[in-house]
Amino acid sequence: MKFLVYFEVRDGQIKKASFETASAAKKIADEIGGETFGIIIGKDVSSIAKSAQKVGIKKIFVIEEESLSKISNSLYAKIIAEFTKEQGFDGVFFSATSQGKDLAPLTSGFSDFPYISDCTSLLIEDGKVTFVKPIYSGKGLLKQQAESGAKFVVSLRPNVFPLCEAPVEVEVEKISLKDYSSIKTAIVEDIEKGSQELLDVAEADIIISGGRGMKGPENFQMLKEVAKIVGGAMGASRAAVDSGWVPHAHQVGQTGKVVSPSLYIACGISGAIQHLAGMSSSKVIVAINKDKEAPIFNVATYGVIGDLFEVVPHLKEELKALKEQG
């Protein structure tokens, strides 16, 4: 089997999630005696392409053109789909990042390879590639399998698959761009960065979230400070977002972001089913809540029963002390 991994470039670098995806694809390929290749698209990307070597991909294809400097989803996907068919790849792998979730279904549509989205586990069963993906926001899991000879497009959830470093010499092959002027595409004209102060919840390894128990927008400052100390992100429940205390980009849950950090700290969040849907796959969950009956305690690894306005300031001091110790 031949797999192709799409390497996503942001700010002149390959994203960490792409390395995770490549590691997972390579692991599966090694198990069934297949091969994994990479593809990278954009302007001035061939120098970046070399860094793909760190996960053991031997060959990476580069499509590099001035006209590709602005991300153009349908054009990028068409290039990947055509290249996939030409080269006889069996599976195309994306990370389920915002760009991956944009490109993967388009690639599926253009190639007519079925798409399995947002997988959290990938394995070989009966010699076949087997996918596990959350459904109902993680209240259940669906297991599917590619029958022999079946082609597929798949996206893998970031922060779930381990990064396996296995550096090799990587060959970079440039592919020329064909004429795709008939493809109607959207074009990214500009990128607006949010505040650079904190990480986005979708990318953070530690998240501290606040809910209605935070009482008002001013109190979120305290969570921001904690997030800064641990190099994490600040999240929120829908109740906090709907009250206008924090922007929607911070919302965790079924209609917010689905996250799986190593550590999730919920302050003044009751643990409604829609909130749990967004964070219950976190490795370690801490709940700080004054109501010991709150459902959040059912999923908490560590539950602190108490008033968050008393606990969080001490938590901040303890974390600071820990970080200062190094």
């Binding site: 989803n73 279904p105 388009l106 599926s108 549509g109 899991l141 669906l142 297991k143 029963i305």
Partner: protein, 258 residues
């Protein structure tokens, strides 16, 4: 302007699920079905655009008889008419096949915009809208939190990690709607009454000449699993200072996440 709003009839987000029959089936506790929450943003946006430019807003779903409830809801909000694509052949399709059926219907229609939800809750695929766009060869802007239209071109902001992309596209186009784009209106009593009289056109597989051979069979269903249970947690009930101290110690030494 002629606008289509794609609507998926899904289980309420409150629904609890249980894996039964050795992973072959799901049992649902609380079986209320609704318009997928993000699709309400699509309907609202369609209505707002119609208010500005005039035209027609049509709600469309691929579903069973029960999906009529969601179409009526969309029409109560204000869409002019609906299309229901209903055929047993189309039940439980994967996203690519769903998109094929929807694209097959839309390719015969004149449209300026196709508005959809960011994703359909339940299956959580975030796939059908972009696939439809690829099949119709129209541009797609996904996860839009703002949208400006001047009649021929679209300018939108889409949510990405740590910020937004400013994206442009020409019409006709597909736009997938994210929370923040607008506030969906509640149907008025008058709207609910009017919706009862609005037309729902029903299409079968034969009507759109599509058969099972069009659908993918390469990916097979292998069962449902329960999410791994979370180990029982430790409760800390102490004065705040000691509680914080113990917590950080546990996170550092036991859980090793700090």
């Amino acid at each position: 302007m002629r606008i289509f709003c794609l609507i998926k009839h899904v289980r309420d987000t409150e629904t609890k699920i249980k894996v039964v029959e050795d992973g072959k089936k799901l049992e649902f506790i609380g079986d209320n079905k609704i318009i997928s929450p993000y699709d309400e943003f699509a309907v609202e946006e369609g209505l707002k655009i119609k208010e500005k430019f005039g035209g027609e807003v049509i709600s469309l779903t691929l579903g069973d008889e029960d999906a009529i409830k969601s179409l009526r809801q969309a029409m109560a909000m204000g869409t002019d008419s609906s299309i229901l694509i209903n055929d047993p052949l189309f039940y439980n399709l994967d996203p690519l096949s769903t998109a094929k059926v929807i694209a097959k219907v839309l390719e015969k229609e004149q449209f300026d915009l196709i508005l959809t939800g960011k994703h359909g809750v339940g299956d959580d695929n975030q796939a059908v809208s972009s696939m439809v766009a690829s099949m119709l060869n129209v541009p797609v802007i996904t996860v839009a939190v703002s949208l400006e239209i001047d009649g021929q071109t679209l300018k939108a902001k889409r949510e990405i990690e740590g910020g937004f992309e400013v994206v442009s596209a020409s019409m006709p186009a597909v736009v997938t709607c994210q929370k923040g784009l607008n506030e969906p209106r509640y149907p008025s009593l008058k709207g609910i009454m009017a919706a009862k009289k609005k037309e729902i056109k029903t299409l079968s597989a034969k009507d759109i000449s599509i058969d099972h051979l069009s659908f993918n069979k390469g990916i097979s269903f292998k069962g449902y699993l329960e999410p791994p249970p979370r180990p029982k947690g430790k409760i800390i009930e102490k004065d705040p200072k000691d509680a914080a101290k113990e917590l950080v110690q546990l996170l550092h030494e036991e859980a090793k996440v700090l």
